[in-house]
């Protein structure tokens, strides 16, 4: 490997000897994860088409799709963006602030859900729509 003097800030260079094998392996892994996601997506679609959609099953499949997405994100960041090859200090300054998302997602989705529950309880027109929609849905969602 040719020595390159990129910057005085760099003490040592990460080894890039692995060739392109690791890259292609990651590509196939990402493709496989995407295909599994699509299969789960189509399963959700078919459950929704049925007479009485099993909401627990739909929720379980959606949860699995979310986990697979996080796995994809990990492989893109770690292998394609080479974050896994960086110094631990740099990795931590990026990953630790992103932990804010845990609170961010939980708090806001919770808030949205509570908003819906309050509206369904106190706003009569919303309640009416709730009762009409499922009955009408069974008849004509085809195309």
């Amino acid at each position: 490997m040719s020595a390159h003097v990129s910057s005085p800030e760099i003490t040592f260079h990460a080894e890039h000897t692995g060739g392109t094998k690791k890259i292609w392996r990651t590509f196939w892994l990402l493709s496989a994860l995407t295909i599994v996601e699509l299969v789960l997506g189509l399963l959700i679609y078919n459950i929704h088409k049925g007479e009485n959609p099993n909401q627990t099953l739909v929720l379980a499949f959606k949860g699995m799709v979310c986990i697979l997405t996080l796995a994809k994100a990990y492989y893109i960041v770690s292998i394609f963006m080479h974050l896994g090859d960086e110094v631990r200090n740099l990795i931590m300054t990026i990953i630790v602030p992103l932990c804010l998302f845990i609170w961010f997602i939980a708090a806001f989705l919770w808030d949205g859900d509570s908003w819906k529950n309050l509206r369904n309880r106190y706003n009569r027109t919303e309640v009416k729509i709730e009762h009409v929609a499922p009955a009408a849905k069974e008849k004509g969602v085809k195309d």
């Binding site: 040592f12 929704h48 090859d85 200090n89 740099l90």
Partner: protein
């Protein structure tokens, strides 16, 4: 990790060297991407909050079920999987360009940068088709005033509510004025017959529409279009700027600037941005199309 052994013996914080072992530009690119992740995250969380706050949301398998040149075939997830694979493939060609850069192989960098640019343009073309398809789509929906009307999917209109029963459609048709009935009739394809819908009376139009077994639905939450076009548009804008950056990098490679400089670190930084665009798409794909 090959660097772990070196780290053990290196005193990173005793001065004389960068504790991050990376150039200023690369570190700042990482922090820019982190802040951009929060921007996208905030958009997607806002979308999630609104979606959680209503009883009914547009079913993505219903909204995104078409494919170019496939007519009215019902193909849920098909087109968006094509877009996803295009972006994954262009991410791979990008990381291969970075790899060739490490080996100081100019021809290899040029080849893979070109492929990455082609992938980016292909993705943007797909998105342009999808937007056009939604913005010019014709779906019959029940308005608040009790009439039926032809609606596209825009930031102001969402025809993707719950489907109406045949009785509800028949009742709403009676309330609908002639101009709206004519535009509904014009969207129906009755074999090869050509009708002058503008000249038909209300009763004729209603008979014509009912014989075509019209499918109509309630309007959905108005926020759907704004979030969909806003977030995919913001992502598409990132793809667009990524393509521009990649074109600049390709030209600089071609002109030999990086060979003169002695390293291809700019390709790495452009690569970080490009992979981030792919990363965001993974989440947009999840939030808008899969769940």
């Amino acid at each position: 990790m090959s660097t772990a052994a070196v780290q053990q013996g290196t005193k990173w914080w005793s001065g004389g060297k960068s504790p991050f072992n990376a150039s200023y530009g690369k570190v700042m690119m990482w922090y820019f991407l982190m802040s951009d992740a929060f921007t996208f995250g905030a958009f997607l969380i806002s979308y999630g909050t609104i979606r959680f706050s209503v009883n009914d949301w547009a079913d993505p398998n219903h909204v995104f079920n078409s494919f170019p040149f496939a007519g009215h075939a019902n193909l849920p997830l098909a087109f968006v999987s094509l877009m996803t694979f295009i972006l994954i493939a262009s991410s791979v060609t990008m990381v291969l360009a970075v790899h060739e850069g490490h080996n100081m192989n100019r021809k290899g960098v040029e080849k893979y940068m070109l492929l990455t640019i082609v992938g980016g343009i292909a993705f943007l073309s797909c998105q342009a088709w999808e937007w056009t398809h939604l913005l010019t789509g014709e779906h019959v929906a029940l308005l608040n005033d009790g009439t039926l009307s032809v609606l596209p999917t825009t930031v102001k209109a969402n025809p993707w509510g719950a489907a109406l029963s045949h009785e509800a459609v028949a009742a709403a048709l009676q309330n609908t004025p002639q101009s709206q009935l004519a535009s509904i009739a014009a969207t129906l394809h009755h074999g090869t017959e050509v009708h002058n819908v503008a000249a038909m009376s209300n009763a004729e139009l209603i008979k014509f529409i009912e014989s075509a077994d019209l499918h109509a639905s309630q309007t959905g939450p108005i926020a759907f279009g704004g979030y969909f076009f806003g977030i995919t548009g913001f992502h598409g804008f990132h793809v667009f700027s990524g393509v521009i950056i990649n074109i600049v990098m390709y030209l600089k490679t071609k002109l030999g600037h990086f060979d003169q400089r002695g390293h291809y670190e700019m390709i790495e930084k452009a690569g970080l941005y490009w992979h981030f665009v792919d990363l965001v798409w993974v989440f947009v794909f999840l939030c808008f199309y899969l769940i």
